[in-house]
Symmetry: C2
Subunit: 248 residues, 2 copies
DNA sequence: CGGTGAAATTGACCTGGGTCAAGGGGGCGC
DNA sequence: GCGCCCCCTTGACCCAGGTCAATTTCACCG
């Protein structure tokens, strides 16, 4: 560990301070729709943490809940262990997304959250945040909306979809989320190994691999290890069999 | 349909007005922990609706979101249809629970909600509620917590559990929720047919029936049509294989 | 009190996807 | 550059749970 005073002083010397105001993700993250003045109030409570190396844990099940975390860069995975010690992936988190929302109710983290590659987060101390939310209606509203959005995501995951529907739905979900972030929705690379995708979709790794191969043979997608191209979005949508698309 | 003016006048003649203050469910519902003064402010925005007959819809997918609904009596079911027109049950709602939370994000109801038997609800106009929440920190906090709690419920449903784990988990979940409401956690009756239970658990009706029969043979439970007795809670917990119990 | 229809159970059989096992690569440290 | 290890893919087989069909039970109703 480097001495903290050294870290602090080097951070202080940077000419451009990282703030919500100049953060490219502010339109996705908590401060959506806030004016500059409110953003500055939010800024003051945000704790911009040191980048985490790949496979480092941000928090673990059972730890006292203190902060929500916003992804600044990289990709994170939240998961639990079942009684037999098997991992259960609950979600992947892209930049601009808020993690730890399920810990609010019990006051204790309900998931382990781990960085899939090197990644940065902003910690939002929950007490301060909810206090501020009471003063800034748009902030309160945004937190309600983010919680509600997660409900819909879980509702999809909880549906009884076939393996094809799951894999197609997963790819389309990522595609949508990358588009929202200004990246290509047709070509992106998967931050996570097949094993994690399979676990998240409640399938075996082999099944995911087989479905991907099938989609490739049928010209729906093209893959090269973690690189994915979606060649036929309509075709994938057919396979995903969504019953309801949530409008932006 | 009876004329509404007649209904209104008969309601007005009641000597004891229904309010949150005298509602037995106030410790479960939104006003948990509010003082009398705040409860009265909440009272003013609550719209206590006429009881719904069995199988009547409270709201439907795609309708503009305006209110959250709190269950006052009876049992409700929320569900969607998939593209092939098959029903997908998402949740059952007992008295004191809040429905419609997943509609906040998109501003449009995401589920159909139907009364399983005759049931009453309070409508909470969302705009008024969130406005009030900004003024009453404990109310805001409670809404955050209720949303967060639903996340955990969906996370369980989304796990890949065996049929036995699902049925055991379902019975224990109901048991806990009945206990919280002051009813017996050992003997209760199911408001919903097996078909709905099976659909909710993403199983076939026949599978639910078989698992229930097995649990009965093994002395874990006793059933008589919709009546259920849980004879061995520990045994059921074994079968449910929870990885994490959410504390109160 | 018998008739009717939905709900529940039970049995026989089938299949989607899990499990087990055996290769291929590709990245990375030495 | 070489070897090691992990990731991914593919094939063969199996089983939990779905599907189909028959039967029983009960609530309701004339």
């Amino acid at each position: 560990m480097a001495s903290s005073s050294h870290c602090l002083s080097s951070a202080a010397h940077r000419s451009i301070r990282r703030t919500c105001v100049n953060c490219a993700l502010s339109e996705l993250c908590v401060p959506v729709g806030l004016d500059q003045q409110d953003m500055e109030r939010l800024d003051q409570l945000v704790d911009r943490q040191q980048p985490l190396p790949a496979n480092a844990h941000l928090c673990r099940v059972g730890e006292r809940f203190s902060s929500l975390y916003a992804v600044r860069s990289g990709c994170f995975k939240s998961y639990r262990m079942d009684r037999e010690g098997r991992e259960r992936v609950l979600a992947f988190h892209l930049p601009g997304e808020l993690m730890g929302l399920d810990a609010i109710y019990p006051g204790v983290y309900q998931s382990n959250i781990i960085a899939l590659d090197v990644g940065g987060v902003c910690a939002l101390p929950y007490n301060d945040l909810s206090h501020l939310a009471a003063q800034i209606p748009r902030l309160q509203e945004q937190i309600f909306r983010l919680l509600s959005k997660d409900l819909s995501a879980y509702a999809w995951l909880a549906g009884d979809h076939s393996a094809e529907e799951r894999v197609a739905g997963f790819l389309l979900d990522l595609s949508n989320r990358y588009r929202e972030r200004g990246y290509s929705d047709r070509a992106f690379n998967l931050a996570m190994p097949r094993r994690d995708i399979a676990n998240y979709l409640r399938l075996a790794t082999e099944t995911v691999s087989r479905v991907i191969t099938r989609f490739e043979r049928e010209g729906l997608i093209r893959t090269e290890r973690r690189e994915v191209q979606l060649l036929d979005l309509d075709g994938l949508n057919q396979r995903a069999n969504y019953c309801l698309q949530v409008s932006g």
